[in-house]
């Protein structure tokens, strides 16, 4: 078994117009910049993939990563918990102009919906958002004297995530807090595409240290010394 691909453009070639795309990362930590850039490059050359639904904790910062996708005009919808950042103009301008749809989800509910999506659990109950605007229209139930809100699973056509070390079988480790949503998204997407800073032979990751088992991964490309979104922003990156 070998899930390694050598060409990053080929790795993301299956992402098409109108797909839902989970993108790993929390702010700049874990953002798969090179995979995103490969999508933007293709969109600018060919006009595809557009009309995407993006699932991420945030909605882009500055003019790199998800913000660059929004500026390029590829994004129709964002599912996130916190669409504000130090510079969230890319999202804010289009949202206020009615050009981009927002589904706002509490952060823990977002994580659990993605986990449920990857785990074959169509719905679950959480105390989060009970009695608030974000629970409107959702079923509510009482368990042991407390109220809970029913939330549904969240799946996607594709996940693009950033790992630290990968092997050809798709086993992954991450770098520090860059892990965040990535292991959940890898489970919940039909196809999971990974950029890894380093690829090792199978066995090169101690099985005790595997964070995402390879069954959740479909394709891996090596991106040595990947860009870090926050570092790009602080260096004054423009799209």
């Amino acid at each position: 078994m070998n899930k390694i691909q050598t060409d990053i453009d080929e790795a993301v070639a299956g992402i098409e117009d109108g797909m839902s795309v989970m993108i790993g990362g929390f702010g700049g930590s874990g953002a798969p910049i090179e995979l995103i850039d490969a999508l933007i490059d293709r969109y600018k050359r060919t006009g595809s993939p557009g009309n995407l639904a993006i699932i991420n904790n945030n909605a882009g910062n500055g003019a790199v990563g998800i913000a660059a996708m929004i500026y390029a005009g590829m994004v129709a919808k964002v599912v996130c918990s916190f669409p504000r950042s130090t510079d969230s103009r890319a999202f804010t301008e289009r949202y206020l102009a009615g050009e981009i749809e927002l589904e706002l989800v509490p952060q823990g509910t977002l994580a659990e919906r993605i986990r449920a999506g990857g785990s074959g659990i169509p719905a679950f109950y959480t105390p989060t958002s009970y009695g608030t605007q974000l629970a409107e229209g959702k079923p509510v139930a009482e368990f042991d004297g407390r109220h809970y809100v029913q939330e549904r699973w969240l799946k996607a056509d594709v996940a693009i995530i950033k790992a630290e070390i990968a092997d050809a079988k798709g086993n992954l480790t991450y770098n520090k807090a860059a892990r965040n949503f990535a292991p959940l998204m890898a489970m919940a997407a039909e196809t999971t595409i990974v950029q890894a800073s380093r690829i090792v032979d199978p066995g090169g990751i101690d099985p005790e240290h595997v964070v995402t088992p390879g069954i959740f991964v479909d394709a891996i490309v090596e991106v040595a010394e990947p860009a870090q979104e926050e570092a790009l922003l602080r260096a004054g990156a423009q799209s």
Partner: protein, 222 residues
């Protein structure tokens, strides 16, 4: 105008009530200041939503690792014994009742324990982050806040007017004038600044203060 505590002093007061060995989540912004005032000799383990337990202070400028941040997207360091985990495990810690204390900011707190701290209304881009999760699960959900708004209206109210973050979730409110526990859907005054009378405090509070046993709120200059 009556003397009132500074934000740093409010944070100091809240920090005194964090027990030794507690697992704590500090909300982004003002609540992060509480960590500065942890009493010597107490061990506190901080949790951040994005998957770190036992993070420490910010690194020196120039030594940031931007893959190692807190929920406020600020660079942090690790204490010995720190751990990483994915987002679903992180919120299992939150909702599953594993955190001892969460400290949050507020626009309004109702005497029923309802909290409004995520939205000022429909005009802005809505953003909730982890606030609605954090108010459920921690054994104590504390709020630190000025006692009144910038234009002098009570922030401790009968009923929240702004969109709710959670229902019946707040345990204790540390304000610029008082420490107020929420017990059986009532504001129970635990401490107040000695310089303010009960009448004057009640006048800037939007619901009745139960004042059976009131201590002095004494905070050093910090």
């Amino acid at each position: 105008m009556t003397a009132k505590l500074s934000n740093a002093q409010i944070a100091w007061r809240a920090a005194q009530d964090i027990p030794d060995g507690a697992y704590v989540n500090l909300g982004i912004g003002f609540p992060e200041m509480v960590a500065k005032f942890k009493p010597d000799g107490r061990e506190v383990i901080y949790h951040t939503e994005n998957g770190v337990l036992d993070f420490g202070e910010a690194p020196p400028a120039g030594e940031e690792d931007w893959d190692l941040i807190n929920a406020g997207k600020k660079a942090v360091t690790l204490n010995p014994g720190a751990s990483f985990f994915h987002h679903a495990d992180s919120f299992a810690m939150v909702r599953g009742g594993h955190l001892d204390v969460a400290i949050l900011g507020a626009y309004e707190v109702a005497q029923t324990g309802d909290l409004a701290n995520w939205s000022t209304g429909p005009k802005s881009v809505p953003a909730v982050g982890g606030a609605m999760d954090l108010v459920h699960g921690a054994k104590r959900v504390c709020v630190i806040t000025d006692h009144v708004t910038k234009d002098g209206r009570p922030k401790l109210v009968d009923k929240c007017a702004l969109p709710l973050t959670g229902v019946g979730c707040v345990t204790t409110v540390y304000t610029s004038l008082a420490v107020v526990d929420i017990v059986n859907a009532r504001f129970v005054l635990r401490e107040k600044l000695p310089s303010i009378s009960l009448e004057d405090l009640q006048a800037v509070t939007g619901a009745e203060l139960v004042a059976d046993k009131v201590g002095d709120l004494i905070v050093p200059e910090v």
